[in-house]
Amino acid sequence: MKKFFTAPGTVILLLGLFLAVCLCGVLIPQVSNSPASYFASWQVNSPYSYQLVVLLQMNRIFTSYWFLLLVLFLLLSISISLHGQFKKARAAFAAKPSGNLTPQVTLRTGQFTADALIAAWARKGYKTKKWKKDSMVLLNFYRNRRNVWGSFTFHSGILIIVVASLLTFAFQKQGFIQLIEGDTFFGRETDFLSTSKGILAGAFEPAFEIHLNKFLHSYWDTGELKKVKSELTIDRQGSAVPASLVRGQSLSVDGVAIYQSAHFGYAVKISLLTDKPGEEAIPTYFSLDMAPAGKPLEGSSDFPTTNYRLDMKFFPDHDGPSPYPVNPSLQVKFLKGEREIGSAVMKPGDEALVEESRFRFEEIRPWSGLILTGNRFIPLVYTGFLINAAGIFMMFLFFPQEILVSAAPEKEGFFTLAVAVKTKMGSKILLDDTVETLHELLGPETVKG
């Protein structure tokens, strides 16, 4: 089993499958990044292919059980391989420079001083081991010896990232709230507009309340969104703290991260009035999504308990000093089925009579979209990134290098130098560089011998 999971064939197969899955994830539309209408139309137009894709979970590949199985196999392979890599790295690190390298180049020189060579390679960041064997002087220059741990570090980083991702997949909690200016989120799971939770995650009920004091947004001259900001009060069991939440910067409260969403808009409150004594007006909130600067906000929705449908266009006063509408007006079309039965342009407090019904435009307030995320494993993911990157640098950029120069004295004061280099990443450049340095240090009389 151990051999099977670390065999090159198995690793290549697993990686090949992973790459194939990634390609499928790009080519087949996924639930996470395609609208629901796309799948509805697919189901209608090609029911058999749709059924097959759903059955094989190909429309949500990266959360499918078989993808999870593939990741587990990869995890197993990396874990077992790490054991072997640890033993190899430990042995390589413990080994002393032996001087048993086969000479690759020999040079003949009239002047040789070990100290000059040691100083030259010290400037290049090499450490030296010097010893004598008979009449020969052996110099072993080496650097980055610790980086024999590179491969182990690199693969440990991958292991940590994969484990942290699986834990995230199992336990992460995320929820979206639409918080109207002046309202409070009480931390109940039912107060979220939508939630997305890991397969083993429990209820998502943050132990704090969020009150939206003010919502601000501004645009660039090109109409693009410049800044989105929510002025909040976070109430943690009686201790209320003001906080500003800006798009792009999260807040962390009791292990829950709060993000400013780019999804925001206005909430319109319209009441259906009644003349019957004892009966109260029926207020309803409608949500209008934010529109580009200078454009009206639009929304269409049924009015509950009636047959009416309301098509709304809201014109906020963007020129006002405050983002809160200064001189707003709401244009409403009242529809019954497809038939328009009335229309009105209203300011807050205005009423409109449609057939027998009276509607009052009560108020309009901006709402801010907030994303709350509970994921305890993020530090683990970041640790994995750090270890993985460190391993890559150790393995591929600052890899261990060893140079052996042995000098044997000849007659008439000449020396024969035997040069050898050792590195796993190709030795030609290092060898050329070594010979060039020796030529510079030992003078022009130095020749290849």
Binding site: P8, L15, F18, L19, C22, L23, G25, V26, Q30, S32, N33, F62, S151, S165, Q174, W220, D221, T222, E224, L225, K226, K227, V228, V246, R247, G248, Q249, S250, A257, Y259, A262, I371, T373, I378, V381, Y382, F385, L386, N388, A389, I392, F393, M395, F396, L397, K424, M425, G426, K428, I429, D432
Partner: protein, 278 residues
């Protein structure tokens, strides 16, 4: 000065850089064909001269759009070319043996600047979610990785020409294939290191901004595929000794995917990333 005047000035500077880069390419080609060391030195100086208007163009744009050059096809391609030229000048001073590859790097630079000039130079404003320090790391390391990849590709072309047994005597002057192979490896490893930081910094940025570090977005997936392929090549070389032609075949596939990921996909697919490139 008005922004339209600045925009025109910046475009003129870009055209100037483009023509100087063409001149640099000519010098490098001349150096290889006529075996003139002087032409290489001249090519380096011309390249450096092209970098001046190019740098000025990017600075002018930075000044009037209030953000770095990374928010549209125009800015992305131009800054990629700039980083490639800077990296080439830096590394070819450190490793003079690779100076000849300027004959491929210079065309890479002017094609990118030309593609930028034919794209829209319209200003895109800085989105709200971009005010994060991780953005700097994500973009900076991405550009360094792309620069390293392009230099490696230039050396691969030379390797391919040499190993095909071309009878052009001028090619005999280029470094041995063994040396080229090692330089290709070095630049690939360099690019791979920075590609890793790009992905990690992007993931951290995504988490800080949107609450998720990986969203299986099309560009994210292709970046991961590129990373896996390049990592596989480096592993094959390190653990299985895949050097020379065998390694080059794998690397050709890796770079084909890299080019697709860096230069085409962000402009073609619907992705969170592509919003800022189009």
């Amino acid at each position: 000065m008005e922004s339209t005047t600045l925009l025109k000035f910046e475009i003129i500077l870009h055209w100037l850089a483009l023509f100087i880069y063409i001149g640099a390419a000519v010098c490098f080609v001349q150096g290889v064909i006529f075996k003139q060391e002087k032409s290489f030195s001249l090519g380096m100086n011309v390249f450096l001269a092209g970098l001046l208007p190019h740098s000025l163009a990017l600075l002018v744009r930075w000044f009037y759009v209030y953000h770095g050059p990374y928010l549209s096809k125009y800015e992305v391609l131009s800054s990629n070319a700039w980083v490639t030229v800077v990296m080439f000048l830096f590394f070819s001073r450190r490793y003079p043996k690779i100076r000849f590859s300027g004959m491929f790097v210079a065309p890479f630079a002017f094609f990118q600047v030309a593609a930028a000039l034919f794209a829209s130079a319209a200003i895109k404003r800085f989105p709200a979610s971009f005010k994060v320090p991780w953005l700097v790391a994500h973009i900076l390391f991405n550009k360094l990785a792309v620069g390293a990849f392009l230099i490696a590709i230039a050396l691969m072309i030379a390797y391919a020409l040499k190993s095909r047994g071309s009878k052009m005597p001028s090619l005999a002057r280029l470094p041995d294939n063994e040396v080229l192979d090692e330089y290709i490896y070095k630049f690939t490893a360099f690019g791979f290191c920075f590609w890793t930081i790009t992905i990690a910094a992007g993931a951290i940025w995504a988490h800080e901004s949107w609450g998720r570090y990986w969203g299986w977005d099309a560009v994210e997936i292709w970046s991961l595929i590129t990373w896996l392929l390049l990592g596989s090549y480096l592993h094959l070389r390190l653990f299985f000794g895949w050097k020379g032609k065998r390694g080059m075949v794998v690397l050709t596939v890796c770079y084909a995917v890299s080019i697709l990921t860096v230069f085409f996909l962000p402009f073609l697919v619907n992705s969170l990333h592509s919003e800022y490139f189009k």
